[in-house]
Structures are given as structure tokens and as C-alpha cells.
Symmetry: C2
Subunit: 236 residues, 2 copies
């Protein structure tokens, strides 16, 4: 066999296993998944999925983000996704995969709003990050940073950022349910503290979930989002 053949085979070998292929197809939704979720989806043990992910990551098909005790993986890039789509087009139906996770975590107070350490997470956290980005308060061009406008906005709201201990002023943190970044760091904590102090959100006893009041709109969130964050009074 030739060197080129061996190289091509190397790529193919990554997808040549049913479990790894399943993982890649699931990741076609563009989100980041944890190892355990993928293990559950593919119906294999955690050690098994761990090794598969090692292969896919070191092979360059996937990238990973380690966060706390979680290992998030997603497709390396759009070109990778494109290639996979092309291959997957050879086979019929998909769909069901994309729902498996979303179905269980949706419509849940925990998924809507909660604390993550000392900052806001869930739909609320992500929506807040989105809104701030939209209004030019955050600059993502190199990592993540607060813009001068962002600084001014915080001052206007009367939010004081605690800058002790060399903690990064602002950080992005991958949201567990949304799989998109929300805000952490000193700024994230300050926003959360501010919301709690003013009762824009209140802790739901027995967990990290938060009850959201309409006042969070003061953060500049779109009306539609705020409404989604406040389900009927029937729920806890």
C-alpha cells in the first residue's frame, strides 16, 4: 500500500467504528457535548467513550474544552462538518439524534435560569451574554473582553465589579444546557450578585435553579426572551 493510501485510511478509520460515527453525527448539531452524554447516546461505557474521544480529538476531527469536571467536545470546524454531511448524505434519515438531549432538559426551571458558581447560567445567562454582545458591550475578537461601552453600562446600572485576587475580569463559560457561552469572571459574578440583591432573580430552594422576575429586563434583554424565562405561576 502507498503512503497516500495509508493517510486516507487513517481518516476513514476514525469514522469506521459505529460508536465514533454516532458521536460525529450527533455533533453535527454544532453543539458541545459532554463525554457522558455521548456515552449514553452511543450506549457504551464511559471508559469506552473516553478513548473514542481521545482518538477523534487527537485525529483532529474534534476539539475539546475542559471545564471543571466536564469534557466538552465538538466538531473541529465547519469544513469538518461539511465533510461529514457529505458522507452522511450517502445514508438516509437523521433528526432523532439532535433531540435526545434537548428534549429532557427543556421546559425545566434549571434550564431556564440558575447559578453556575457565582454567575448566571441557563437560558438567562446565555441570553444576557447575547444581549450584551449585540449592544457592543463585549468584544469577542480576541478571547473575551469588556468594551469601554460595557464599562460605562455597568457603572450606569450601579454594578461594582470586584477585582480582587487577580481574578479575570470577564470570562466565557460554556453553558451546560444551552451549550453556548455565558458570562463568568468578576463581571459575571457582579451581574449575578446585582440581580439577586435586587430580587430580579431569586433562588428556588433545593437547588441552583432561579426564579426569574420581569425586572431582569433591566439588563436589556429582549422582551420575548424575558417572557420565555417566566413560565406560568403553576411552577415552583
Amino acid at each position: 500500500m502507498t503512503a497516500e493510501g495509508e493517510e486516507l485510511a487513517g481518516w476513514a478509520r476514525m469514522l469506521a467504528d459505529g460508536t465514533r460515527a454516532t458521536v460525529c453525527l450527533a455533533l453535527l448539531d454544532g453543539r458541545a457535548w459532554t463525554a457522558s452524554e455521548l456515552a449514553r447516546l452511543a450506549k457504551v461505557s464511559r471508559p469506552t467513550i473516553s478513548e473514542h474521544l481521545n482518538q477523534l480529538v487527537s485525529g483532529g476531527l474534534l476539539t475539546e474544552v475542559r471545564q471543571g469536571r466536564h469534557r466538552y467536545v465538538k466538531l473541529a470546524g465547519p469544513d469538518t462538518a461539511e465533510l461529514l454531511e457529505g458522507l452522511a448524505a450517502l445514508t438516509p434519515r437523521r433528526e432523532e439524534v439532535a433531540n435526545s438531549l434537548a428534549a429532557v432538559s427543556k421546559r425545566d426551571a434549571f434550564a431556564r435560569a440558575r447559578t453556575c458558581y457565582d454567575h448566571l447560567a441557563g437560558k438567562l445567562g446565555v441570553a444576557l451574554a447575547d444581549a450584551m454582545t449585540e449592544r457592543g458591550l463585549i468584544d469577542w475578537s480576541d478571547g473575551i473582553a469588556l468594551t469601554p461601552e460595557g464599562q460605562a453600562w455597568l457603572e450606569d446600572l450601579g454594578i461594582e465589579v470586584d477585582v480582587r485576587r487577580g481574578r479575570p475580569a470577564i470570562r466565557s463559560c460554556l453553558d451546560v444546557t444551552e451549550r453556548r457561552p455565558h458570562l463568568a469572571g468578576a463581571v459575571g459574578a457582579a451581574l449575578c450578585r446585582h440581580a439577586l440583591r435586587n430580587d430580579w432573580v431569586t433562588h428556588i430552594p433545593g437547588g441552583r435553579a432561579l426564579k426569574v422576575s420581569g425586572s431582569v429586563q433591566a439588563f436589556g434583554l429582549p422582551v420575548r426572551v424575558v417572557r420565555e424565562l417566566q413560565p406560568g405561576p403553576r411552577e415552583t
Copy 2:
């Protein structure tokens, strides 16, 4: 693992072996190769390549044509080739593969013109089929057939087609060196007989190779091709 994953893995598995990948890359030149040639290229034994080809053919990636004691395989279609190109694009350099066979069989009397059973083959045979196709003497729309114009052309040349024994009047036959079809069947045989009888071509002793005279142009071949078929008088 899911059903889709298993399906995708099935396709990938075909390319997940260095030998099979090498075969597929070689076949990217669009030509048909014999099993032995591929075995030599991939540096494996004939039994081994035989099984690999079985897999690739039954998997739908390759198609085969059995002809005499040869088994010709080529890529199933343009879409297959496209997919392979896409995958191969992930890896650098190619080239060397495409030349391995052409290099040795070129510039050879055998490759220029010879008999194949009872009809003409080599560059001459393929060029003849091309020329006849170009002038509307052959219809390829459903298999291969002689057009009314083709019938008339044969009569004009004084060529009698032997239609005994229910032999197909005209057939296409994959050329060993050119890897493109030339003409066989009763018509192919008649053309060859005619050329030999009029000394447009003559047998070179010790093989099937033919020496080509300029008279073959009477078949309506392009001048350029006829010149290529007649190398310097130095050769046998």
C-alpha cells in the same frame, strides 16, 4: 451506537484499510485496473487483493467487468470519485500513482496496435472506435449498436460482416492498455480481417502486436493519430 452511525461507519470502513484506500486512490484516474495490477501496486498477494475487491464491489464503491481471465474494476461512478477526491483532499500529494502503469506500457508496439482475439486493440483499436463514434457510425445510447450510417460505411469499404453462430454483431471490449473500449463482435472481427487482408496492419512475429501502415487512414482516423501509430523505422 445508532443505526445511522453504523451505516456511516460501513462506508468509512471500506476506506479504513491502507490497501483498499490505495486501490481507490489509484482508481481515481478513472481507468479500469486488473486485480493483479492492483495487487502489485498495493504490494499484497493476489488472494488478498481479491478479497479487498470483493468488499469494495459488494459495498458499491467499485464496479467490475469480467473479461476472459481478467477482472477489471473501476470506480462506481462520478459521484463516488467526487467523494473520494474530497476525502483525499485532506491529504497532500498524489500524482505518482497515476503514472505507475502508463509509464511501462507506453511507447510499446504492443500498446500501439495489436489483436485482441480476432479484433483490433491498443491505441489503434480505441482510436478506431472513437473515430467511428465521432462520425455517427456507432450508437452508444443503449449498449452499443451500429447505426444505418455505420452499415453503409462498412458496405462502402467492401467489408463483409460474418453473422454466423448468433454472435453479437458489435460489442465493446475494454482495452487492456488504454482502458477505454474498442470494438469487438462480428463487426470488430470484420474490421480487423479487412485491415490484415489489405496489409493496413501486419503481425509482428512472436506476439499479438501489429505493425501499422499509413493505409489505416482509410478507416477514417485522424492524421495525427495515424502518425502516432507509426514510430520510426528503427522499431520492429
